[in-house]
């Protein structure tokens, strides 16, 4: 298994891809996933995260098989 990563909206445009797959290295947090997919770009307040379709924080744990998503502030309604 592995960790599926998804990107939405302007963040997808900036990163130039809509998804990524990364190996579970054990004891990972959301911010670790972000650093693997976004390199030097800091995990700022303008980036929201979800783990398995629930909102998560930078230090939320991520386990093998999880789906992690990153996206900008929401603008629906």
């Amino acid at each position: 298994m592995s960790i599926q990563v998804k990107f939405f909206a302007s963040l997808r445009d900036e990163l130039g891809r809509d998804s990524a797959e990364i190996e579970d290295a054990g004891d990972m947090k959301v911010v670790d996933i972000w650093q693997q997919v976004a390199g030097n770009q800091p995990f700022s307040g303008n980036i929201l995260a979800a783990v398995n379709m629930e909102y998560a924080q930078a230090d939320s744990p991520v386990r093998d098989g999880d789906e992690v998503a990153f996206f900008p502030p929401v603008t629906g309604g």
Binding site: F8, S10, D13, P73, V74, T75, G76
Partner: protein, 145 residues
């Protein structure tokens, strides 16, 4: 009931259909609803169209959690949340939120709560078509002043 809709919908017809289907005719005294439409302007610029993106799976789950939370906090008989996705033209309905209750305070407050939570937390993103160009909308304005 919550629903993601990928083609134009008539908010008043949907409201009427849903209201007719309620088993509690005579039980509810109050129906509060809100419809959001696509405007032809935003942040001082003319807007000619819009693409609305969502996160399949998480968006439906979040809308359902809004409906559940409203039902916990107020005495409601029914709630309805419909939201458009995809390409949207000026004047078309984007969102419909409605609450039915025996009394108006519950209906009003639940309806507004659902809209505010939806605007601030539900995973949707708007990309506006300008003339020329396009832009992602940066954020929603607060609904309470």
């Amino acid at each position: 009931m919550i629903e993601i809709i990928d083609s134009p919908f008539d908010p008043h017809a949907r409201l009427a259909d849903y209201q007719r289907s309620l088993q509690s005719v005579g039980g509810y005294g109050a129906e509060a609803s809100f419809t959001g439409y696509m405007r032809d302007h935003n942040d001082g610029e003319r807007v000619t169209g819009m693409h609305l993106e969502y996160y399949p799976g998480m968006t439906e789950r979040h809308l359902q959690s809004i409906a559940d939370e409203a039902a916990r906090r107020w005495e409601l008989l029914e709630v309805l949340i419909l939201h458009r996705v995809g390409d949207i033209a000026v004047g078309e309905a984007i969102v419909l939120v409605a609450a039915w209750s025996a009394h108006r305070a519950d209906a009003f407050e639940a309806c507004r709560f659902m809209m505010e939570d939806l605007k601030s937390r539900a995973p949707f993103w708007k990309k506006e078509q300008l003339d020329p160009g396009e832009r992602w909308v940066q954020g929603n304005t607060p609904g309470y002043k």
